[in-house]
């Protein structure tokens, strides 16, 4: 086991050609963990030739010791089998003790492929990471729809975890290092490309990212009764310079699109203010927004669990309250 040293983080290039924000969150957390075990932090990136050079500064500012850049023309688009093979080859060579991957769509597609190929443990969608008394990665994650938290250890190496975006904050101050970039060629000629992307349609105007990084989120639940209710919330959100969100119940009912869904199976947000309208407060939803600085809940049911979990609660009909709020902020903004 002592052969395995250091923390390796996966730098995912998203479909817009940027490194996913979760990478920088992991970079910050990894520095903390690395101090405890006194081991280096490195990154792996898989991309088209020349891309790594364009983002080098980002790696240097996050204090990376080394970056393994697997570049290939075929890596312009993500491909599960190719990326997994390329990553596994690097991991086998450098033998990291811990591997962290953002629990994005791509991360959750790729990570189990890598862990299975290495026959090592992977803890999914973690919301906390620590090093235990034996120097092992203690990965904590919600299970049972977020009702139970489990801290999971891995008895094999490397110890892998996928980590939910937005649970850690990026570095407050740069840690400048003279990061060494080690270029690799992938050994994938023998793997036939069996999955071909025919078309990608981006969700309009980066709505999702706006929601994930919004400072105000106005979210609705089943109590919004239909898409019309969400139009009202969208208006309020706009007046507050925020984004709209939805509970799983509301998304499943088709009131709001699934890309606005917040919770265990949706996005995690941590805005300055979260306004929950007609949301009962199922734990499934709560785990996606419980890190908000302040939570205001409006619900007609005085017994809704959300009232235990908010900073400020108001028992009332959202169809009366929200229009009043809209009126107020409309007037205020126009004066």
């Amino acid at each position: 086991m002592s052969d395995y040293k250091g923390i390796l983080i996966y730098a995912e290039v998203n479909k817009s050609g940027y490194i996913q924000p979760v990478f920088f969150e992991l970079a910050c957390k990894a520095q903390e963990l690395a101090k405890i075990i006194n081991e280096p932090v490195s990154a792996i990136i898989m991309c088209k030739p020349g891309y790594t050079e364009t983002v080098k500064e980002g790696f240097q500012k996050c204090g990376f010791d080394k970056v393994y850049a697997v570049e290939d023309d075929r890596f312009a688009e993500y491909n599960t089998e190719w990326f997994a093979k390329a990553a596994v080859d690097v991991i086998k060579e450098i033998k990291p003790s811990i591997i962290l991957i953002g629990a994005t769509n791509q991360g959750r597609d790729l990570a189990p492929r890598i862990s299975s190929a290495l026959n090592t443990g992977l803890t999914a969608d973690c919301t906390d990471l620590d090093i235990n008394e034996d120097g092992l990665l203690a990965a904590t994650r919600p299970t049972f729809g977020g009702k139970l938290m489990a801290t999971i250890l891995c008895k094999t190496h490397p110890q892998m975890a996928s980590v939910r975006p937005k649970v850690f904050r990026p570095l407050k101050e740069d840690i400048i290092k003279d990061t060494e970039i080690i270029y690799k060629k992938p050994d994938i000629d023998n793997i036939e490309n069996k999955v071909e992307l025919i078309e990608f349609v981006k969700f309009a105007g980066d709505e999702v990212n706006e929601l994930e990084y919004a400072t105000v989120v106005v979210a609705g639940g089943a109590g919004m009764k239909g898409p019309e209710g969400f139009k009202m919330l969208a208006e309020l959100a706009k007046l507050l310079n925020g984004s709209i969100g939805a509970s799983r119940a509301a998304a499943d009912l088709g009131y709001s699109s699934h890309d606005t869904q917040i919770g265990q199976t949706g996005l995690t947000v941590s805005p300055t203010l979260y306004i929950a309208c007609g949301i009962s407060g199922a734990i499934q939803h709560i785990v996606g927004m419980c890190d908000s600085d302040k939570i205001i809940a409006i619900n007609i049911d005085p017994n809704a669990p959300i009232f235990e979990l908010c900073d400020v609660g108001y028992v009332g009909d959202v169809f009366e309250v929200v229009p009043e709020l809209i009126n107020y902020f409309k007037n205020k903004n126009s004066t």
């Binding site: 769509n105 597609d109 009043e324």
Partner: protein, 256 residues
């Protein structure tokens, strides 16, 4: 076309009760089919409705009572079912589970064109077992699949829904797909399906049957293990206000 659908019996997570020690009370909790797996079955049934010679086998790994969800799957139109069950499988993580299921497929069930799994199981929520099975069987995978839009002899066209947008993807068969929940009402049991399900002979395969040994399965075969569990306490101050005016004041205070 031969389709295998992998399903899981899970506790109804909307109905969880706590013991006084903040552990989950397992007795008396209803078991259901994982809600995502309902749509894995639906996608298979849709292919069966629109194409000739589609045969659907459902598989689950679990205790003896997990047979119930297999019979339910036959009742809605699946053709065959297989239960992989052994006390030694207890405590399996996703790696050990995938190894067990893929060994069962290799030794007892090979020849599938398409394997369909649910994207998540609502108890563990890992989304790992499907891709791990694909790895163990050396198959291509497509995750976050909303629909299988088209099936031709040696490929499928699927629609994926991702955080950043939607994708249309062509995957060469054989392949494994992990499906999201759909919006449509799931198929109800058919009368002759129910009769068929009651009479169905469901083979049960043990660890030995599928050629595995003790240190490859269950807790022993799992690289990960749970060190501790705890209940998440999230309650806040919850100051109740009695007028919309006060709600407005709080919004202004919190967004200053």
């Amino acid at each position: 076309m031969k389709i295998l659908v992998c399903i899981k019996q899970v506790p109804d997570t909307t109905d969880i009760k706590w013991t006084e020690h903040n552990t989950i009370q397992r007795e008396g909790v209803e078991s259901i089919i994982n809600p995502f797996d309902v749509y894995a079955i639906e996608e298979a049934l849709k292919l069966k409705k629109t194409h000739d010679n589609v045969e659907i086998t459902v598989l689950t790994m679990g205790p003896a009572q997990a047979e119930a969800i297999l019979r339910d799957a036959i009742a809605v139109g699946c053709d065959n079912a297989v239960l992989i069950s052994d006390r030694k499988f207890a405590g399996a993580d996703t790696i050990a589970t995938a190894k067990t299921i893929s060994s069962a497929i290799k030794t007892k069930l090979s020849g599938f064109d398409l394997i369909i799994c649910g994207q998540f199981a609502v108890d563990g929520d890992t989304a790992q077992t499907g891709p791990s099975i694909a790895n163990d069987l050396n198959l291509p995978q497509v995750t976050y699949v909303k629909n299988i839009e088209r099936y031709e002899e040696d490929y499928i066209i699927v629609k994926r829904i991702l955080d950043e947008g939607t994708e249309i993807v062509k995957a060469k068969l054989p392949a494994l797909v992990c499906v999201l929940k759909g919006n449509e009402e799931p198929t109800r049991p058919l009368i002759n399906g129910v009769i068929k399900s009651q009479n169905a002979n469901i083979p049960v395969y043990s660890m030995v049957d599928i050629g595995l040994v003790e240190n490859e399965v269950g807790l022993k075969g799992s690289p990960t293990f749970v060190r501790k569990t705890f209940r998440m306490i999230l309650s806040r101050e919850h100051q109740m206000v009695s007028s919309v005016r006060e709600v407005i004041e709080k919004i202004e205070e919190f967004t200053k």
